[in-house]
């Protein structure tokens, strides 16, 4: 009959109207500035630099100013100047590390190419600014964030990174020991992947809610690069 | 009350005159609507409430719409509704004729001793109008109804395009 569809439609909207008052599953709005939804762990937008010691953020940056990310960045939003001492010798840390987030396209390539796990993706999305040019150009100080913060926003991935770094450090120590004892054989590269699964004791892993077990596929496994001190 | 009448009369005639002289058809149609509304105001002033509302309903509500539709459908160019002003060859005879008619009418009106009653008119309620329409004037009402129906049908037939319906037209 003509009109029955109209009545059905009215019933649907009436149900919504009444339901939004008593049914929290219908009413999905969050009052944004006061209430915030928890971001999913894999959410990412702009990169930041990881440092290890909050007491000395500039000194413990993992970045060695190798400029790989600068070269790989598709929109070329990264600008790095390596710090040098007065004799011109490279100090392996950035003097300038700028990211123009108004240009950045959040592709995460810088994170994937970084051999030192020094640059990671942040979850900070409230970057609105009144300063059109300077406000969106982030400097080293703005970008530098602690490893604990990294554990907070990406717990699973950070645990994997920590484990890999710890293993690398252990291997370096072993290599040093092997150098000291010249007869010792070099450890096979194939053992890396198996040992990476074992959780390494890390001070930051305690704060992370997720168990630092096998890192998921999303967690970048550090590629087999020569250790920085080599 | 006479002042109100003079005001209404002046405004009505003025809007009508300006409307007849304008180049822009839309403006002249809208001014004519104002003029019709002025006539309705005159009816109100004269105490013919029902006629006044009927005048507004028919002229301001319906005829103006038809006029505006006709103007928009027959615009000379797509962008404006300007028309040529009256040419001198037509204006002059028209003015002479109109002036002559006006002179004759005014002379006749002023010169004739019209008997008028001082008493106010009998208040005619809607009920009485209805009874009159259905009683003594029922035949006229039927004729008017038939006339309106025929006129509307004729208007539709005249104005409708004879284009056959497109079979692919969406329902």
């Amino acid at each position: 009959m003509l009109g029955s569809g109209l009545l059905q439609g009215l019933a649907v909207t009436a149900k919504n109207l009444a339901g939004s008052f008593h049914d929290p599953t219908r009413y999905v709005t969050t009052e944004y500035p006061e209430q915030r939804t928890k971001l999913p762990e894999n959410y990412r937008n702009f990169p930041f630099l990881v440092h290890d010691d909050p007491a000395d953020p500039a000194g413990t940056l993992r970045c060695v100013a190798c400029q790989i990310c600068e070269k790989e960045c598709p929109p070329q939003c990264i600008y790095i100047v390596m710090e040098r001492d007065e004799k011109g010798k490279a100090l392996k840390r950035p003097k300038v590390f700028d990211i123009d987030v108004s240009v950045c396209m959040s592709c995460q390539i810088c994170v994937e190419v970084c051999p030192f796990d020094a640059i990671k993706m942040d979850q900070e999305y409230e970057i609105a600014t009144r300063d059109r040019f300077g406000g969106l150009l982030l400097h080293r100080e703005d970008l530098s964030k602690s490893n604990e913060y990294y554990h907070q926003i990406h717990p699973t991935e950070a645990a994997g990174v920590d484990a890999a770094l710890a293993e690398q450090k252990a291997k370096q120590a072993a290599a040093k020991a092997a150098k000291a004892a010249p007869a010792a054989p070099k450890p096979a590269a194939a053992t890396r992947s198996t040992t990476a699964a074992t959780p390494a004791p890390s001070p930051a892993a305690v704060t992370s809610p997720a168990p630092a077990a096998t890192p998921p596929a999303a967690a970048p496994v550090p590629p087999a690069n020569p250790p920085p001190t080599a | 009350m006479s002042l109100a009448f003079l005001l209404i009369a002046f405004l009505t005639v003025a809007t009508a005159a300006v409307a007849m002289a304008l180049r822009n058809l839309i403006r002249s149609a809208l001014l004519l609507v104002a003029s019709w509304a002025g006539i309705a105001a005159f009816y109100l002033w004269a105490g013919a409430e029902f006629v006044a509302f009927a005048q507004v309903l028919v002229y301001v509500g319906a005829i103006s719409m038809v006029v505006l539709f006709a103007v928009l459908l027959t615009r000379p160019s797509r962008d404006e509704a300007e028309v040529t002003p009256a040419s001198a060859g037509r204006l002059l005879p028209a003015l002479i004729t109109g002036g002559a008619v006006l002179g004759v009418l005014v002379g006749a009106i002023v010169g004739s001793p019209l008997r008028t009653t001082a008493k106010p008119p009998p208040p005619v309620t809607v009920r009485e109008i209805g009874l009159q329409l259905m009683g003594p004037h029922a035949a006229a009402l039927v004729v008017v109804g038939a006339l309106l129906t025929v006129a509307l049908l004729g208007a539709v037939v005249i104005a409708a395009t004879s284009r056959p319906a497109d079979p692919g037209e969406p329902r």
Partner: protein
């Protein structure tokens, strides 16, 4: 010269009538001519109401009824007239009355 209200009403209506007449005669646009005719009809209606109001023997509501009928007929006239204008425009792409001089469409 002492003019009664009836005189004033009649003068008003004749002025309106002449405005309509001049408009209908002088303009060449068919719509404006039709509107001029409408004005003349309205002027006639004013007369009817004026005589109903001030006339010597105001019959109960006859003037009002006449005006009502006249309004109805004016509506019919406007509808047919404007339909004709539209039909003329469809044939000639023009509604100047001087050029609407062919009977064959």
């Amino acid at each position: 010269m002492n003019l009664s209200p009836l005189h004033l009403c009649l003068l008003f209506s004749s002025a309106l009538f002449c405005v309509g007449l001049i408009g209908a005669l002088s303009r060449s646009n068919a719509i404006l001519v039709l509107l001029g005719v409408e004005l003349m009809l309205n002027a006639g209606n004013i007369n009817l109401i004026a005589f109903w109001r001030y006339g010597p023997a105001p019959a109960e509501g006859t003037g009002i009824l006449f005006v009502l009928f006249a309004i109805a007929i004016a509506a019919a006239e406007a509808a047919v007239g404007l339909a004709l204008v539209i039909a003329v425009h469809r044939h000639q792409r023009n509604i100047r009355l001087q050029e609407a001089n062919r009977l064959r469409g």
